[in-house]
Symmetry: C2
Subunit: 197 residues, 2 copies
DNA sequence: ACCTGAACACCGTTCAAGT
DNA sequence: ACCTGAACACCGTTCAAGT
């Protein structure tokens, strides 16, 4: 555990690479997030990352997996309120706030830069954890008679609802949006309420 | 008009390039959709596309704009039913069917390969046309007393709902999905209905 | 075990040139 | 007006080599 080797140049290159990748992503999106640029920023040779990640996609998957973990956490802490319905609603706003605050990360998590996500187990696991958080919030709104399939469908519907709003907002496809994140979250709340949130 | 020049090699290189780009996109997504590959497939030198498109992003935008036009058309023809509510519901299924049938195109239209879509006027126009179709379907469900802002919010909610379902399905993030498109569309219908479609 | 350097087959894009 | 060819600065990835 206390193996801070500092051997060649780094003691913990894998994490340094992840950090560099995160900054590059936040700065300019996935395109400039290049294996060579990450290596450069970590102060290491262009080929060093290959000791820690199989290829570029594996590095992207690791960044995205961390994003799913952070999203799940944001859902948990955002789910405040007196009733289950309120908690679900506020978790939805937290979801959208996460997307608007971390646009490039959110697009990496869901966009086409990570095709066949099934091939990255850590991605599947963390994504499932986020989905489970959502399912729990939806389930708390149902009574004991509600069959599991109905819960599952409602969970998918809720997730899709906030996911869709976040995506359209990130794409600039909704008219007359405020410039600041909280203003947009408020608009999102209105859209959610319009459909019987 | 009848200027089929056939001058150098092509009479209509711009359209030939668009066609080649469409095939490449359908075959392997946006990444192999490279300016040089498009030129190759059109049988023209690597630099020829620059006479017709400012850069790679402009070509992608043209492909995506055509996708928005086709999506709007799919919404129109899909909007069948005895009541406005039924027509809206079926248009939603048509939306999701379009996404599942043209996954790479759909991701190009909405994904991060086309950042700041505002800079491609043809994209904005065709996107607005698709949104208008959606708004019309939603508006037909409202009575005369409904204020325009409510229509706008409901339109955004409906669009986000189907957009979110399509996105999650394309990402393989929904469990236990059938393999065929129509089976998935049926599941989508169940999810839509679960939320009070 | 971890990192480097040279090399290969690609890209997007610019510029000068051809017809 | 439209197309080509050479060139530049990048990529991802492989392989042999260093410590």
């Amino acid at each position: 555990m206390a193996r801070t080797k500092e051997s060649y140049h780094h003691g913990d290159l894998a994490n340094a690479l992840l950090g560099a990748a995160g900054s590059l992503l936040a700065e300019g999106g996935a395109r400039p997030l290049t294996l060579r640029a990450v290596a450069r920023r970590a102060g290491v040779s262009a080929m060093a990352p290959y000791r820690h990640f199989a290829d570029r996609e594996a590095l992207l998957a690791a960044v995205a997996a961390d994003g799913f973990a952070r999203l799940a956490a944001a859902l948990e802490t955002g789910a405040e309120g007196a009733t289950p319905g309120e908690r679900l609603f506020n978790a939805g706003l937290a979801y959208i706030r996460f997307a608007l605050t971390n646009p490039a990360l959110y697009r990496l998590m869901f966009g086409p830069d990570l095709p066949d996500k099934g091939r990255h187990p850590v991605l599947v696991d963390n994504g499932a954890a986020a989905l489970a958080a959502c399912r729990r919030l939806v389930g708390a709104c149902a009574d004991g008679e509600t069959p599991p399939e109905a819960i599952e469908r409602r969970t998918a519907a809720k997730w899709a609802q906030v996911h869709g709003i976040a995506g359209l907002m990130l794409d600039g496809l909704l008219d007359d949006l405020p410039d600041d994140v909280e203003g947009r979250v408020a608009v999102a709340g209105g859209i959610l309420a319009a459909d019987g949130a």
